[in-house]
């Protein structure tokens, strides 16, 4: 991975030095080994701080909305999921393709520091190096090697597109897909099989943890409204207060519903949730239903295919026509 990181730095430096782009969106090292922050690079000199490692999980595509609007020519690094997000933003007319130079990065899956912590592998670690699927945890007591897949984010374990689906140039060899697509619906299926009461209690417990920080919304590449209804005092639904549990239920249903057919299933909502709510399951339920009822559609694959809720077919399934009168069945 270090070799690719050097190439990444080099490419960013060249893009800025030659004036190919005005700014580069990439990642930067923070305080410690798992601490990586998205950053904007404006000069070639700054790019020495640029980073590509197992903790570059943050999606950079969403930052483009602001930069592109300001008229900058922007270079951005995209992993597989980020590229889907990029396409979705393109489809939603939030960014323009011309002003963006896309550097594709095949992604081996990102490492979840929480999982290392839970496995008691965390204490004393000062740096983490990676070669293929082997993580070398370097601490003051020497180095220990662990298998990376055991410590990847859940979302990375069911990744369908480790390789960017759109890019101007690809900076590394493509990565293999780890699991079949069907795997990502396993938990949805499990929940569907529960009784109504069990489902309700499960979600109630999850929603009760919600602190309404809006991290799920703000990280989401499909949540790109200029003004969210939940921030708009005049919408009648804005509520910072979680005075009643139905407020959270409302928020999460509407949040998931607003990205129906546009969610690229990058899993960022669940990753960033400080309360650990499995928000992506709501989105996946919708994705599963759309695939089952309206046919194969994957958001972010092709910005020119209309989104399922922005279109219709005359012979769509009609679960409401119980009386069998009129319309087509």
């Amino acid at each position: 991975m270090e070799k690719i990181a050097a190439a990444v730095r080099e490419r960013a430096k060249r893009a800025l030095a030659t004036g190919e782009v005005d700014r580069v969106f990439a990642w930067k090292r923070g305080e410690f080994w798992y601490d990586v922050t998205p950053a904007v690079f404006e000069t070639a000199d700054e790019t020495d701080e640029l980073l590509w490692d197992s903790f570059c999980v943050a999606n950079l595509s969403k930052y483009l909305t602001g930069a592109v609007r300001q008229g900058f020519k922007v270079g951005v690094f995209v992993k597989g999921c980020d590229a889907l997000a990029f396409n979705q933003l393109l489809q939603d007319n939030r960014i323009s393709r011309e002003n963006v130079r896309l550097f594709g990065l095949p992604c081996p899956g990102m490492v979840d520091p929480e999982k290392l912590k839970k496995a008691k592998r965390y204490r004393g670690v000062r740096a983490v190096a990676r070669a293929g699927d082997v993580l070398a945890l370097q601490g003051k007591h020497g180095e220990q090697q662990v298998e990376a897949p055991a410590y990847l984010y859940d979302k990375c374990l069911v990744c369908r597109h480790p390789n960017p689906v759109v890019y101007d140039e690809l900076l590394a060899e493509p990565q293999p897909v780890r699991t079949p697509d069907s795997d990502r619906f396993a938990l949805v299926n499990e929940l569907e099989a529960m009784s109504a009461e069990e489902k309700f209690l499960f979600w109630q417990e999850q929603f009760d943890k919600c602190i309404r920080c809006n991290a799920c919304r703000n990280i989401c590449p499909a949540c790109s409204c200029e003004k969210c209804i939940f921030d708009n005092g005049e919408s009648g639904v804005a509520a910072k207060a979680n005075a009643d549990s139905c407020e959270e239920q409302f928020f999460h249903l509407i949040r998931a519903y607003h990205v129906a057919g546009r969610c690229v299933d990058c899993g960022e909502c669940s990753r960033v949730c400080p309360a650990g709510i499995p928000l992506h399951l709501l989105n996946r339920k919708i994705i599963k239903d759309i695939q089952a009822i309206y046919g194969d559609y994957e958001a972010g694959l092709d910005p020119n295919v209309p989104a399922p809720l922005a279109t219709y077919r005359l012979d769509d399934a009609d679960p409401f026509d119980g009386h069998q009168k009129g319309g087509k069945k």
Partner: protein
């Protein structure tokens, strides 16, 4: 809860149904039901909307939070939309919403979508009576009600 208390509450249970009716078909259907002197319960509160696809999932959830025990969306039959295609979108949107309600453990029987034309006064009454009966069986909506809300 004490048994007697529960029984007395159930006896007193008067469901509230909110029906979003499309201006062109279903609202006229309700009118026809009225002028034809067909019986449908007074528990149904009708909100007129320009088209069934004007109904946003927010409306449905808000209705449940603020007192509704059942919600109905009634629009023109697919193919008959006054705006040509509105109800096709309604169909997709609320198919998904209904599945979602089911997914988080809410009785989806509380939520109904149906197609009622201006000529179907009797269907309007039948649909409303059917919804009322289902909701009566389910009892008051507790899972979505805002506890601060008092009728």
């Amino acid at each position: 809860m004490l048994l007697e208390e529960k029984t007395s509450q159930e006896q007193a249970f008067e469901p509230l149904i909110v029906a979003f009716c499309c201006n062109w078909c279903s609202y006229a259907g309700a009118d026809l039901a009225g002028t034809s002197r067909l019986q449908y319960p007074a528990n149904v509160k009708i909100i007129k909307v320009p088209c069934s696809c004007r109904v946003n999932p927010n409306f449905v959830l808000r209705a449940f939070q603020k007192g509704a025990d059942g919600v109905v969306i009634a629009g023109c039959h697919p193919g008959d939309c006054h705006y040509s295609t509105g109800n096709y979108f309604t169909r997709r949107r609320f198919t998904l919403l209904m599945n979602m309600l089911d997914f988080i453990g809410i009785e989806k029987e509380r939520f109904t979508v149906d197609w009622i034309s201006a000529a179907e006064g009797s269907k309007f009454a039948a649909v409303m009576n059917g919804v009322l009966e289902k909701v009566h069986k389910l009892g008051p909506n507790r899972k979505m009600r805002d506890k601060r809300w008092k009728r």
